[in-house]
Symmetry: C2
Subunit: 262 residues, 2 copies
């Protein structure tokens, strides 16, 4: 975040790497969409209104389609391309986006403000992206757009920003991200598994550990009237022996809570 | 550029790729330095004061030294790291930096303002980075820092911003960048070879075509009192048959004017 002339700018930077975050033989238009959408989702979780992006693009096959996807996502969210760099790469491509947003509410929501007694909420259901990914890799048919073309919850984030005590987007798995929020806030999140909406009941455990859904996870006083549909999935407890309990059981970072980078 | 709360933000994004912009077996500290310095040089050419950077870093060998170089360059120019992303990569690493600066003079200098009758100026001598690169690849001894640790001319850019009609940094070779400035301004730059300072007289032609020096190329009324040492290397003429003449001879983009990406 950056204070400029009385405004608060929110800045995010995310990189996608071929073979790591992007399936082989992906449609370059989908890569472009996801690259921008995940950055806009970061802005959404801060209640920020996008003002533009910069793109670092590694040239290669399918660039025309990449540009098509880029145009689509920028038009969908009315975001200008402010600048960037194109470079040659040979073996493993990567793409980086910096997104800039204007805070619509100060203080800007962060991961660290959860208060003991708050409710823990999440928008939507978890695991839709997982089912989409499975469908793309030989599994049963499912909505692949949930994985390929995530939707940044910009309006939702702006509506929630004045009401929440902490907020983040679920990019790496609900449990892992809840663990991070609990850690940053110095509290224990007490989650109740059965109250967490999932896209596939038979794979509930996996749905809670898969990322890419870009739903919003937030804490707020439990009686806060919310301006949108969200599920109450737990409560904020005083710091115990760890930042996260699921159905009363303490989880550890080593339990495979979600997708960890690097 | 971006108007925020009455201020003008200048944004740059540059990517370095292993095997393309970075020599094999480079010291990671030097990579970090150059990555940040080239972005700060972009800000310098706009007369902007840096306010921070975001870094997209692909993890790998030598990360401790990378961080050391990053700390050095950020401390040298008093620039905070505002955020970023770290990702795993396997075969070919790349690094991206977004730099944000605050314009100190509006209108912000661009490539497109050169006026017929202006003088064309450049700071410093061209080719020092070329000699440094040669020394690193088996050539005669030379100052390798000129190649490895370029110096963004931030104070110089700020001092020049109110005086120039057009300005850019010389990243890809003097002739190529002059060609771009002439094109953007819709004029012809008439350069005189003998008046252009070079680091190696015997290799004058190459010095004019090698990049990485990050000197400032600018145009201004020829009688402007300059606040720093710069060489008058030509004049701005009405648009002729192309944007650039050297010693009266029209140069074309296909003449190998400098380093072209992608």
């Amino acid at each position: 975040m950056l204070e400029v002339g009385g405004e608060t700018l929110v800045l995010t930077h995310d990189v996608l790497v071929e073979g790591v975050h992007v399936l082989p033989n992906s449609n370059p238009a989908d890569i472009a969409w996801k690259l921008v959408a995940v950055n806009l989702s970061d802005l959404a979780s801060k209640g920020a209104e996008p003002v533009g992006i910069l793109l670092g693009h590694m040239l290669g096959d399918g660039d025309a389609r990449f540009i098509e996807g880029l145009r689509e996502v920028l038009a969908a969210y009315d975001v200008p391309l402010l600048g960037g760099d194109t470079v040659k790469g040979s073996t493993q491509r990567s793409w980086g986006v910096t997104a800039l947003g204007r805070a619509t509410h100060v203080p800007v929501p962060s991961r660290s403000g959860a208060q003991v007694g708050d409710g823990v909420f999440v928008t939507g259901a978890l695991g839709a992206a997982m089912l989409g990914h499975a469908a793309l890799t030989g599994g049963p048919r499912a909505d692949t757009a949930a994985y390929l073309r995530p939707i940044p919850l910009l309006a939702e984030g702006r509506a929630l920003a004045p009401l929440v005590t902490a907020m983040m987007d679920v990019s790496d798995g609900l449990l892992l991200d809840a663990w991070r929020l609990g850690t940053a806030s110095g509290v224990t999140l007490d989650l109740e598994s059965a109250s967490i909406p999932v896209a596939d009941e038979a794979r509930r455990g996996e749905c809670l550990r898969w990322g890419d859904d870009y739903q919003l996870l937030f804490t707020a006083p439990a009686d806060t009237p919310l301006p949108l549909a969200a599920s109450l999935i737990g409560t904020v407890a005083p710091p115990g022996n760890g930042p996260l309990r699921l159905d009363g059981q303490l989880l550890s970072f080593d339990d495979g809570l979600g997708y960890t980078h690097g």
